[in-house]
């Protein structure tokens, strides 16, 4: 399978501020591409550029191998950038009718009902857009993006403002779309949610791609560890460090993290050799969030 989005040496400056600095990225067809970065790193700028809402200063963007300005390619995109672009005094239905007309859909009503049903917003059609809650607006924004069955979805922070149930629904929708072959480029700061659905990741910093990887590669880069608690934390850490090579202290949780040994062996070793009883022990995995924070901290150093 090829790439739905292919970006090479993309640059964008706003006056003197360089927002993108030679960004290169590839979003494989059918993937859910988690686009991660700090505020101001260039995520939204990249997405706006892909959608043709702003003009690049240099570089190239290709959609399915063709120039991103190609009208045929553009008609295959669904977009939710920041907030959904709706007229506040129109009903949700009328707003969607406009977008259906914009897309030139043949079965407008049917398509709108399908999109609203997908985001579990069937009952909201007659609401005025301005009267919808933030979570509802986000879901309506997704419904907008889904109109016409796009082959590529570009979503900028779509899960912001959603409650736990809303996030679950969104997760299900995106996973289902991906299963049907839709490519999804999604940026979010809620990395825990992203980790549950993304098949590929791109981490951007200062307008440059810091790392691109698949979920499998991330898995390999995020090894499991054993987290444990004892009454003698400092002493235990020193012992484990000598015995297993790497034992770190997690300041926030007060746990010791040991890498490269099974939980049972560690507990047995501590008790049998040093008489230290373990009060809590579990096997865990470095999360995307931790991986990302570590990567950012390394970068700053």
């Amino acid at each position: 399978m090829g790439n739905a989005i292919e970006i090479r040496n993309l640059t964008k400056s706003f006056g003197k501020k360089q927002a993108l600095n030679g960004l290169t990225m590839s979003v494989p067809e059918g993937s859910i591409y988690g686009f991660i970065g700090e505020n101001g790193s260039g995520k939204s700028t990249t997405e706006k550029l892909i959608c043709g809402l702003i003009q690049p200063s240099g570089g190239e963007i290709k959609l399915w191998g063709k120039d991103y300005r190609d009208p045929e390619m553009r008609s295959k995109i669904g977009v939710l950038i920041e907030a959904p672009g709706c007229f506040p005094n129109f009903t949700v239905w009328n707003n969607m009718k406009l977008q259906a007309a914009n897309l030139g859909l043949k079965n407008e009503d049917e398509e709108i009902r399908r999109a609203l049903h997908l985001v579990r917003m069937d009952g909201a059609a007659s609401n005025k857009f301005k009267n919808c809650s933030l979570g509802m607006k986000q879901r309506i924004g997704i419904a907008f993006a889904l109109l016409g069955g796009p082959k590529l979805l570009v979503l900028d922070e779509p899960i912001n403002g959603l409650d736990a149930d809303g996030m679950r629904i969104m997760r299900e929708i995106l996973t289902d779309l991906s299963r049907r072959g839709t490519t999804i480029l999604i940026s979010s700061h809620i990395l825990g949610e992203l980790e549950k659905i993304a098949t590929h990741y791109g981490i951007i910093r200062g307008g440059k791609m810091l790392r691109e990887m698949t979920a499998e590669q991330l898995n390999a880069d995020c090894p499991t560890y054993v987290a444990l608690k004892t009454d003698e934390i400092e002493k235990t850490r020193d012992i484990l460090q000598r015995a297993f090579g790497r034992a770190d202290m997690d300041e926030q949780t007060g746990e010791i993290r040991v890498h490269g040994a099974p939980a049972e062996a560690i507990a047995r070793y501590l008790y049998a050799r040093h008489g230290i009883a373990v009060s809590e022990i579990r096997t865990a995995k470095i999360s995307l969030e931790e991986y990302y924070i570590n990567l950012m901290q390394e970068g700053r150093k």
């Binding site: 045929e72 977009v79 406009l98």
Partner: protein, 267 residues
């Protein structure tokens, strides 16, 4: 998936864009407010000035006599015969030419709302050609302008009837054909204002105040030309001049708007 999409040629794209713009215009109250104002404005002007019109007074500072020249004939609300440059009197200032400013404001409100609501994101993410947008907006807003001029005309007839003004065409040096040509000329001249306001709205985008102020300022420059271009006893030449001028402005400024939308950030 995309089998629900219609074909993407220029004609289809323009058709879908027109479909969007016409729906938007008729679903929102602004166009009805503008039409209502266009209808009410001449009624108010003609009825109210008939009360104060023709009164003479002495300026207390200069001691000179001042006169408010009243409307005596209903056709004065449409224009003046002879095509003289605009005079600084009531009949020249408070006639149908005021509508050009209303048209410009409506254009700014209509286009500005696309940017303020963020609707342009939906439009342009799936629509690469900005020319469709410019063309469609020009056509739709011109249609609205035609409606406003027709409503003003009807309002002037109603207002003239209420105020008891003369409907004698010959008394103002015009003919029925001349008045028809005058109205057609005025309507096509509105294309100039639509194009200017559309271009300035493309520049101003979310900054509605900038588009409105710019359009009004540009309108002021053209305002004095209108009586000469569209006299009450207009002929074919005036119509041709206004059709050509309106079309040229629409084409030229449309191209400028297209470049602006292509080269600048839309959000």
């Amino acid at each position: 998936m995309n089998e629900t999409m219609k074909k993407g040629g220029f004609k289809d794209r323009l058709k879908t864009m027109l479909n969007v713009d016409f729906r938007r215009m008729f679903w929102a109250p602004t166009v009805y407010i503008m039409l209502a104002v266009s209808l009410a404005l001449p009624v108010l002007i003609l009825v109210m000035t008939s009360f104060v019109g023709g009164m003479s007074a002495t300026d207390p500072q200069t001691g000179l006599p001042t006169t408010v020249e009243a409307f005596t004939n209903v056709w004065q609300a449409i224009g003046s015969a002879g095509g003289n440059a605009m005079r600084m009197d009531l009949t020249s200032m408070c006639n149908i030419n005021l509508l050009y400013f209303l048209v410009a404001i409506f254009v700014c409100l209509f286009v500005g709302e696309d940017f303020r609501s963020g609707y342009v994101k939906n439009l342009f993410a799936v629509r690469a050609k900005k020319l469709d947008y410019v063309l469609s907006k020009t056509i739709v807003l011109f249609v609205a302008a035609i409606g406003m001029f027709i409503f003003y005309f009807v309002g002037a007839m109603i207002g003239g009837g209420i105020a008891g003004l003369s409907f004698d065409v010959a008394a103002v040096g015009a003919s029925v054909g001349g008045i028809v040509a005058c109205m057609v000329s005025k309507i096509f001249f509105a294309l100039v204002f639509v194009s200017i306001a559309l271009t300035l709205s493309s520049v101003g985008k979310q900054r509605l105040w900038l588009s409105i102020l710019g359009s009004l300022a540009a309108g002021m420059l053209l305002f004095t030309m209108i009586p000469m271009m569209t006299p009450l006893n207009a002929g074919a030449f005036n119509v041709i001049l206004c059709v050509a001028g309106g079309s040229l402005f629409a084409a030229g400024l449309g191209a400028v708007s297209n470049v602006i939308l292509n080269k600048t950030s839309l959000v």
